[in-house]
């Protein structure tokens, strides 16, 4: 439902977005990741029709943003970065205004308002001026504005930024609840959010897409992905090391270890990121007569993938 084709945008000499090609279909929640200044917001602004691309095309539900902007915008719900709002209006008036601009008559307006107020839980502040609301409520008014007309496409620029953990949870539940029948793009800095709500993650840096896949796909890129970590008594360290050497012969891998309180912890990681099967390690240790205290698989963290991909030249080669 969202199709970007070699989208570019420059601001004077600065290249903000440099050839982004993406397709997001119904039922997908795309997590849009990248360092500050990577071009996330600029890309979202182009999809929402606020900025025109320098080159390339953006299409929403088959409508080209450049040629049929109004038709495309009817089908988009957009939460701009920082959720700007008309502070002098009450939430009710503001949402009424949005519905009116979108062409709903007064009975429909009331129905849509009731629906969205229940969705984001705005009832108690509906008649207060927006500028007097707390940050969490302001963000919810912004979300309500984006969801009001039940659009098939949602573009949310950092919807949970600055919210407390409960409010973040609420917003994530909301997104998850709508995911089935919409195409959603969510930008975020919080990588746990990607695992929590997104079906797919795209990392962009310097205006280019450098990674695109599920959270699991991204984690697989980590050198230590699926490393097996085991803790054994120090007295059995020699036996463990011998057993692990047997495994090492099977393929490229590395072993690191640390000692604490009479226990030694080993971390066995393969270079290809496929990891060592835990069962295999367990039977090796068993055969060597090692009685391990703990054995677990390390998936690695998205934060590490993000850092690996967005810093250093080696990372970008790997991508």
């Amino acid at each position: 439902m969202i199709a970007l084709d070699r989208l570019c945008r420059t601001f004077g000499p600065v290249i903000a977005v440099d050839g982004v090609t993406l397709a997001v279909g119904k039922g997908e929640v795309l997590g849009f990741l990248g360092p500050n200044g990577a071009g996330k917001t600029t890309t979202m602004r182009m999809i929402a029709g606020f900025l025109q691309p320098t080159r390339g095309r953006a299409e929403v539900c088959g409508f080209d943003l450049a040629r049929q902007p109004i038709e495309a915008k009817r089908r988009i719900g957009y939460l701009p970065e920082g959720a700007p709002l008309y502070g002098d209006m009450t939430a009710r008036r503001f949402l009424g205004f949005t519905a009116e601009v979108r062409g709903f008559d007064s009975t429909e307006r009331r129905r849509l308002l009731d629906r969205v107020v229940a969705m984001v839980d705005l009832d108690e502040v509906l008649d207060r001026p927006i500028e007097t609301l707390s940050k969490g409520f302001k963000r919810r008014v912004g979300l309500a504005q984006a969801l009001l007309h039940d659009p098939p496409v949602l573009i949310l620029d950092e919807p949970t930024d600055g919210l407390d953990p409960n409010q973040k949870h609420l917003v994530r539940e909301l997104i998850r609840g709508m995911a089935q029948e919409k195409a959603i793009i969510v930008s975020t800095h919080i990588l746990e959010e990607v695992e929590a709500v997104c079906t797919r993650a795209v990392i962009i840096a310097e205006g280019r897409v450098i990674a695109d896949g599920t959270a699991e796909d991204l984690l697989r890129r980590l050198p230590g992905h699926n490393a097996v970590v085991m803790t054994v008594p120090a007295t059995q360290a020699v036996a463990t090391e011998t057993a692990l050497q047997a495994f090492s012969r099977g393929g490229p891998s590395s072993v690191t270890w640390s000692t604490a309180e009479g226990m030694v912890t080993y971390r066995l990681a393969t270079q290809d990121g496929r990891g060592a099967p835990m069962s295999e390690v367990a039977s090796l240790l068993h055969a060597a007569g090692v009685r391990f205290e703990a054995l677990r698989t390390e998936r690695g963290r998205l934060d590490d993938v993000f850092r690996m991909l967005t810093t250093g030249t080696e990372a970008s080669h790997a991508a």
């Binding site: 900025l51 601009v101 062409g103």
Partner: protein, 245 residues
Amino acid sequence: MLREATAVTKRELHGYFSTPVAYVFIVIFLALSGALTFYVGGFFERGQASLGSFFSFHPWLYLFLIPAVAMRLWAEERKSGTIELLMTMPLSTTACVLGKFVAAWIFVITALAATFPLWITVNLLGEPDNGVIFGGYVGSALMAGAFLAVGSCMSAVTRNQVVAFILAAVVCFLFTMAGLQLVQDVLLAVFPPAVAETVSGFSFLARFGAVSKGVIDGRDLVFFVSMIAFWLFATVIVVDAERAA
């Protein structure tokens, strides 16, 4: 388009009247126009049942009061980021520009209409030509519209309301002054007479002067209406230019 523009107009009008801006403006407008009419214009000393002394100060009053109304039209939206909301809704830039302008115009006309006691007063004191007075009000409203359209464009140029105010005041000042001998002399010294004549044709002062004296010439009305159309068109271009690649 009309529906969207109307929605914008309603929102803007609500914005004027939900804050002290509207009331402060109306009170200052009434106080100043009253003071100028009676003390500077010599309403009583003239001994005429007319509002000539009232209307003659309007161009000067508008010169700084209208830019104060217009300065927030776009600069505020850009500063607070709400322009992003507005421009991602399914409405054209033209509808937005028109909606905002009409709201500001309605607001200024409201302030102008609030001077009606003056009209009643001259009718009580004598027998004025009410047609002339009505013409004066129409002309004043049109001139206010032209000032507002200039201000709208200047407000779209910047996100700083003070800059918008100064730019609008300067441009309005140039249009007001264009017909004065002072400006004409300078122009005649440099350009051929045809240029000076053309420039004087753009003078708000001369156009409004004729209308407020009851000489309702179609050309003067067309002048103000086309001024409004031109500056609003310029506003659309400026607003779109910020988003263009």
